[in-house]
Amino acid sequence: MTAMLAHLLHRRDHLLTHILGRQPLGRTLADLTLLMTICAACYGAVLGIWHGTRLAAYDAVKLPLVLVLTSSFTVVFSWVAALALSLPLRFAQVAVLTFLALATASVVLLSLAPIAWFFTLCAPAPSAATRTTHNALYLMHTGFVAACGMAGTRALWQGLCRLEQPRSVVRRVYLLWVLGYALVGGEVAWALRPFVGSVSPRYPVVFLREDALEGNVYEFIGRDIVPHLWSRRRH
């Protein structure tokens, strides 16, 4: 795993050459998955620690799970989209490029873990009176995950740019892949909630909520968030 970390950080060009070549990629995929899992598990533990060790342990499992499930759900579409847009990539190459982006995002997340941990340490313990703290932590983690996701997709972009194809084709494929990750990733994270944990006694710490698969994040935004914001604006 440390060898893969060194490749990812110091010899990315070499790694991309290997991925886009003709060699078998099973070992690379396994190493990237292991790296991604460990880094995401460490950040997951920090993510849940505000609510105690139980949620920290749950999140150490759930955050890598979000990444693995997101890539599993999107990889077939990514491959088909690449082929349909004339980007000649093998299925294994698409899978490894996906995991390369996620592993990069996880490594950046891990580098931010000390900062996230320190802010969590400074936060008052969860209670009904600490809704603002909850929201601030939620915002911080969302910002970190989003920024790291962007850093991860940058690695993907660098990989795709190495293919000798017109830039417009590469851009279209890249946008489709990122859109797929964002759409599916949002929903998977929503289904596997809670991550930061709620301050309401109605929602105790659980691995999965009973209503995990009832509705989805986009319905929630359309049904609850947008009307709420709209009504506030009108008043």
């Binding site: 110091h10 950046v108 891990l110 580098s111 931010l112 900062i115 320190f118 936060a123 850093a151």
Partner: protein, 221 residues
Amino acid sequence: MTPSVEVAAQPPGTVLSTLDELLRKPDAGFARARAGAPIGAWAIRVFGGSLVCCALYGAGSGFFAGGAQIGIAAVKAPLIVAWSALLCLPSLYVFGLLAGAALTRARFIVTLVGFVGMLALVLVGLLPIEWLFSVSTRSLAFVVWLHLALWGVAVAFGARFLRAALPEMPASALLLWLVLFCVVCFQVTTFMRPTLWREPNTPVVAHGKLFFLDHFSQALR
């Protein structure tokens, strides 16, 4: 950094001459690192000197409350900077590498220690101004704004050093890291509160957890 810098065959031997070199030839440390010369002693001298500069700046800020707070702030200020740098160290390393910088261990140490050194040197340069305002006002809100402004000046010089040290890093990534560093500094300051003003017979480090924005709004009230 310009590769044409001529590095003295003998690196500066004292803390003061090392800090002087950092100001006059900020790329000398990088040139030594590139040449494979040992940079451990240089880094220790710069870091040690930076802590002393921060302690002096802290002492200056303690003059606002006076008495024991001068000594307490002198201890807290270097701790705030060192702790913040430690928390932000992994992110600077990973951001730099992902941006394509060929960061060796020596180059990274010179970058981080040089950044802290530049920050501390500018802070100590602002010490007389800080002291003047600290002893001549009774408004806590004013000195909080003053320290924020002085901190901003110091960070701007630190950013200039970082920009030259990591030319491969896009400006947006550098700005993002600097924002993170500042936010972490503010939270570490809140964690170590009170720094500027302490009620009589209250502990040197306040109990209870507080978010830095709440702390600032309390101080500015």
